[in-house]
Structure formats: C-alpha cells, structure tokens
Amino acid sequence: MSDVREFLKGNEALAYGALRTGLNAYFAYPITPSSEIPETLATEFARSTFPDFRTFLQAASELEAINMVIGAAATGAKAMTATSGPGFSLKQEGLSYAAGMELPLLVVDVNRAGPGLGNLGPEQTDYFQATRGGGHGGYPTLVLAPSSVPEMASFPALGFDLAFAYRTPVILLADAFLGQLKEDLVFPDVPSPSYDVAWAATGARGEARHVLSSLHLELADQSRHSRHLLDKRTRIAQREQRAEEVGTEDAEIVFVAYGICARLARRAVRILRSRSIRAGLLRPITLAPFPERRVRQLIEQGRRKFLVVELNAGQMVDDVRLAAGGAANVELLGEMGGLLPSSLDLVRAAEAMAR
C-alpha cells in the first residue's frame, strides 16, 4: 500500500479528483448532502493550489450555476457544478440546452431522499431523471455511478474524458451515503489531459467564428441535428457500457446494484457463498448507457435469476428487464426514505429466489 493515503469524505474526494484532472471552473449553489464539494473547492481556490482552477463562483441559484457552466464549457473549459435533488431538477433545462449545443460539462447529483424537499438521507430515485434525460427535447445521456470514495475521486477524470470525447454533458450520480462516507484512498498520479476544443467559442480575434446554439428554426436543420444527436446516443451505447462483476461466472443468482447498494450486495455475495449459494454481482458503472450487453451475455451463459437492489421503488430494474427481454427472472428489492436495506435483507431475498 502506498504511503500517501488520504482519508476523505466522498464529496471532498470528488472535489480533489476534479481539481487533479484540471478543473478550470466551478459554479456553486450549495445544497446538502453535496455541500462539501463547493466547500472544498472554495478552500482550494483561495489557496491557489491548482493553477488550472481559474474560476470559482457562487451563483444566486441553481439555474444561474448551470447556465454559467454552459458559458464556461462553450469556451472549451473544464467546467462543473454539483447539486442534489431539488437542485438537480432545476438543472434539467440547462442540461437539455447543453446537450443540444453539444457542450462537454460535468454535473454531479448527490441523490437525497424523496420528491420535493424530502430529507437528507440517501436514495437512488433520480435514476430515471438522470438516465432518461430530465430535460426536454430528447438528447443523449451519459451517467456514471461511483460506488466508493476512491471512485468519487477518479470519476471526474473519466467524466471529463467522456464529455469531451462525445461533446455532451456527463452526469455523475452519487448518493447521500457516498457523499458523507469517508474512506482511505490514494490519488493516482496522472497528468490532467488536454482535449481537442477546436469547436470552442473563444472570442479570439482572427479566429474562425464558432456558433454554439441549440436553435434550429429550419425543420430540415433540426431534423439533421436530432439525427446527429441520435447517432451520438447510439455510438455511446455501443462503446461506453461499463460494469464491474463479482462471481458472475458461476452464479445461480446475480445481484444488480450500483452506488452504496453495490457495497451491500458485495457483503451479501460473501455471506451467501459462505452458505453455499453461488451469488454474484453485476455493478453498472455507467447507468447510461446501461450495460445491457452484459446482462444479455450473462443470460446466454446460463444466468437466469437477477435481484436488483436499489434505493427507489423500481427504476433500474426496468433496464434489467428490458435487457433480459423476458429470458430471466428479474426481481426487485427496493428501499426508500433515506433508509438502507440490511445485507441480511439481501441475503434473505436471494435465498428465497434461489430456492
């Protein structure tokens, strides 16, 4: 183990991960349980520790913040904001514009519980909003789901890589548990990448004029643009499905879980295997595109029972069922309100299914 081990909250690790990958601009509207992200970034901005980090601005609202991110991203900067629940709803209009304008940017949603104000506990109820695209008009979505503090730290780099590769917003969907959880981690020593931003509107004199707009008044023009966005969605779906697997090669029952639920499922897999039930875990790392190919392959390899664990009334379970196409038994274990199921709840549900 390396000596330079840090001990950070998920939110703090995420902020440092973004800084280490060369974050240029952060636009803040703090909201619990994501507030340690702007707090950490404001502190480091004041210290001038990271030379690429040129702008930290506290906006007057979530709407302002996302539109500032759009402005910064239009210049080719690595720009980001973070929010939770109510704030994520307010960002949806901006996400639609950014996708229509084909802007690379990062939005973090630390999912809290319930509709409206709800509470500050963890839920995964923003899954549909994030993966389907909560804004209007239809656009590609890319959603990453960290499951540990080290991943909270490393996913901003992955997020920006994908955002700039496809010129589209990337959503990092965490939950209140991961935001507040502290774990040990080592930051990988990788240089911050520079991306091709020949498309950016830099305002430089003598440069070609770049118009970044989501307005296409000619019907044929909008049709062309919509098809282009659809092609992008298809390319992303083909190339970017990511998942981690534990024990799926011989599993009689496969958990499908992400975020904090995947941690519970890991424990449940260990307990079940100690009781001679061959359990496995498929952990989606990309929620959009959903790793449906792996679900289909696992079914082709003989896996027939999937138990989806999520902190909602059943959202990702739809994607698993779509992928399975009726060829497997897919059941749901859901919990809500900021509460978590226990690993024994998972074990019992899996045992009942395995019978």
């Binding site: 183990m1 081990r5 001990f7 548990f177 507040q180 959880l181 502290k182 774990e183 040990d184 941690r263 519970l264 890991r266 424990r267 260990r270 978590l340 226990s342 690993s343 024994l344």
Partner: protein, 195 residues
C-alpha cells in the same frame, strides 16, 4: 481481519470526532478504513451514531450491522446493544449510563469517562474549556486498550492522529486529549488484568 464499531452518543459529546480519530488510527496502521457519520440536524443534543470499519482487506460494505464493539456515550446509545455480535464488547461511558446491557453473551467495560477527563484540568490551556470535553478521548483510549496493540505503538499512533486533526486553535488541546487517551487506556488495561 475486520473490526466493526458503532460509536453512539448525543451531539456535543465529540462522537463524530472520536469515531473519525479511531478510523484514522487504523488508517495510520496501514488498514483500509470506512467511517460513516450519521447525525441529527442539530449540532448539540441530537442523536449521533457513526460506523467505523477497519480491515486488512478492501472493505465490502461500510455499514455496520453487527458490531464487534459498541462505544455507548449515553443512555439512548444502549438501543444498539442488541446489534452487538455475540462475544462482542460494550464499552460504556459509566459516567452517564448506569444500566447493564441486558445480555450475557457480550463483554462489558464500564469507563467513567467524564470523571477521568475531569481530573485532567492541569492539561487545559489557560482560560480553556472544562476538561470533561475530553471524555471522548478517554473512550478512544479505552477502545485502543481493548485492541491490545501495545501501549508504546498505540500512543505513538494516537499522537500522530492528534497532530493531524488538532491543528490551529485546537492544537492547545493536544496535551489534554493525549492524557485523556492515556487515562482511558490505563483504566481498561488495569481492569483487564487478573485480580
């Protein structure tokens, strides 16, 4: 080898700090650690419960469901006694809790944390706060005494923990907290000796 701990009490008792220090102690010993704070909306008076998991191996779940150790700083914390793994240990702040655990399959260590901390007034900086605020450090020392990792190594690591966290204004409280850890450690080690 994985150890799982619940630290519970009320806001203002330094429960989050205690759990965080305990986790960082294990990190400095080269272990993987996970620390989950959970607390009510108020800084003082609200119910506080933290999880600390430490392991030589990567930690699957940070959620403590059957702790090896429960550090109960107040009476409501005794609600978590039923969770203790059989053979686990209840480390109880006997200054505030008189009740027994109501089960016979766990070890109980009663530490008068407030009284032990209150006797350390000479380590409080000039014009500083009541020494009883270091009751959490007494309990940290007691927990480390139970872990039996050797007094010299334990103390050296605790010092490193405090140097990391007690900075700026808090630095003046380093001697108080270190002596409070010593007091808790010694109290538990003495009680573990055969009579």
């Amino acid at each position: 080898m994985t150890s799982e701990t619940i630290v519970a009490g009320h806001g203002g008792q330094g429960v989050l700090e205690l759990a965080n220090w305990l986790a960082y102690f294990h990190l400095l010993r080269g272990r993987h650690v996970a620390y989950t704070p959970s607390y009510g909306p108020e800084t003082r008076g609200g119910k506080v419960k933290c999880y600390v998991v430490a392991s030589e191996d990567p930690i699957d779940s940070p959620i403590v469901e059957a702790p090896d150790l429960l550090i109960a700083m107040n009476l409501p914390s005794m609600d978590y006694v039923p969770l203790l793994r059989p053979g686990g240990t209840l480390l109880v702040n006997s200054s505030l809790v008189r009740d027994g655990p109501g089960r016979t399959d766990v070890t109980v260590e009663r530490v008068p944390a407030v009284e032990l901390a209150s006797g350390l007034g000479r380590y409080v900086p000039e014009g500083g706060r009541d020494p009883s605020i270091a009751a959490n450090s007494v309990m940290l020392g007691a927990a480390l005494g139970l872990a039996r990792e050797g007094p010299a190594r334990t103390r050296a690591t605790v010092e490193e923990v405090f140097r990391h966290y007690l900075t700026d204004r808090k630095a003046a409280y380093l001697p108080l907290n270190l002596n409070a850890v010593d007091a808790g450690f010694a109290f538990v080690v003495r009680s573990l000796l055969p009579a």
